[in-house]
Symmetry: C2
Subunit: 247 residues, 2 copies
Amino acid sequence: MEDANLNRQPGDATAAASGSPATRIPRATLHDELVGGLRDLIVEGELTPGTRVPERELCTRFGVSRTPLREALKVLASEGLLALLPNRGAQVTGLTTADIDEMFPVMGALEALAGELACARITDEEIAEIRALHYNMVLQYTRRELPEYFRLNQSIHKRILEIAGNATLTRMYAGLAGRARRARYVANMTKARWDQAVEEHEAILDALAQRDGPRLARILKMHLQNKCETVKESLLAESATAPKTDR
Amino acid sequence: MEDANLNRQPGDATAAASGSPATRIPRATLHDELVGGLRDLIVEGELTPGTRVPERELCTRFGVSRTPLREALKVLASEGLLALLPNRGAQVTGLTTADIDEMFPVMGALEALAGELACARITDEEIAEIRALHYNMVLQYTRRELPEYFRLNQSIHKRILEIAGNATLTRMYAGLAGRARRARYVANMTKARWDQAVEEHEAILDALAQRDGPRLARILKMHLQNKCETVKESLLAESATAPKTDR
DNA sequence: CGATTTACTTCTGCATGCAAAATGTTATTG
DNA sequence: CAATAACATTTTGCATGCAGAAGTAAATCG
């Protein structure tokens, strides 16, 4: 139906200028495309927190006019990824440790709920699926393949959310996780933290396999608490090496 | 029906500075004003679910052009209050019992977290404040003053959220509560449900006063479960009397 | 010289314009 | 007379235009 290339009619649609990681997933509508594309730019860190969002530049980048782009900015602002300064445009919000301290307890509560719901609904096949993901993840852990480990880790959490079968829950969690992901803490995770995370994931798998909802909820809540600490450590370490202006 | 024309004047639009604690605060920017105004129209039920949102009409109503109005529509769509149909504009989303079944467990998890956090932070003065709200609410209950009861009820829940001191949590909860409020179940609440709610609120006050976080969490979770049933009953009753077009 | 004022250049926020799609209405056909 | 076709009208989605605010560079003054 639509080209991944977003060329609009008038003459000036300057396609991808400098090397951008690009957005490969074409959404249904231009609006969704822009929201997704911009969100990626923010999460990937291509737009620096604290700096003004270059509206015109992004227009040429995506090959659209300001109207749809600004619509996307408003949406992202409502998600908390941007801050709208009156007469001063949009600004990427930074992640402070205070933000992390707020977000992770909420994510913990949501994941705990997801765990409980999932235990009540999970099929044997799904348990097997999670188990496969888990041991693949453990494999990457032993190989010290951080990126792949991280990807599988995410998959497991995402799959539990899906199994919980609550779209609202999934959406709320995704919103928070999207914001939290900006911290990109993986790079700074210590060995001890990594060991701990894997251990907790063993317990998660176990509780799931036994369909012990309350236990899984407790484990997940704790798991998120530890993740919170990991992210904060990473954030502090990063701000120590690269003292950027945040917010 | 009243006109909500917001006249804009350049240079004058800056916020009403000197901190006046007015109950009705006009939002700082036009964008926020529109988002809030439209959200009210939806929650109040003035825009019927399932029907197309009359873009042009709303423009004249609010006295703005389509650009800022459409920006607001996109935001409300991202909140789930509207659905965007490609080339067919926006449509107010209806609340099905399935939606309710999804939303209330999430709200329960969030309120439970809020209760735990609040117990750890609440001051004696705040306990006294909640107690005052509570017994005022009970008074309205004995008077069968449903609207005022409902308002105070909301105040208590909101206050607990505030005391929890987690802005992210408050925002997420507010988003869900805003959507749920469209059910306007108050009118259809049975006496039994009302009695039960007041009883549970006694327990809430008690747990708060004792700063028993885990207990408060349990109570709130249960409280929300019951609220979920109440809302669904009301929704079914309403759809039986007024069988409108769904979605 | 540093600080302020002034002139100029973006940039933001909103209004308007326009082509394509959707919708509504009348005409036509079997 | 139901169904379809042809046309007119409205609506949507995006581009563009424009006044005013914010930012920037030059000029003036102490």
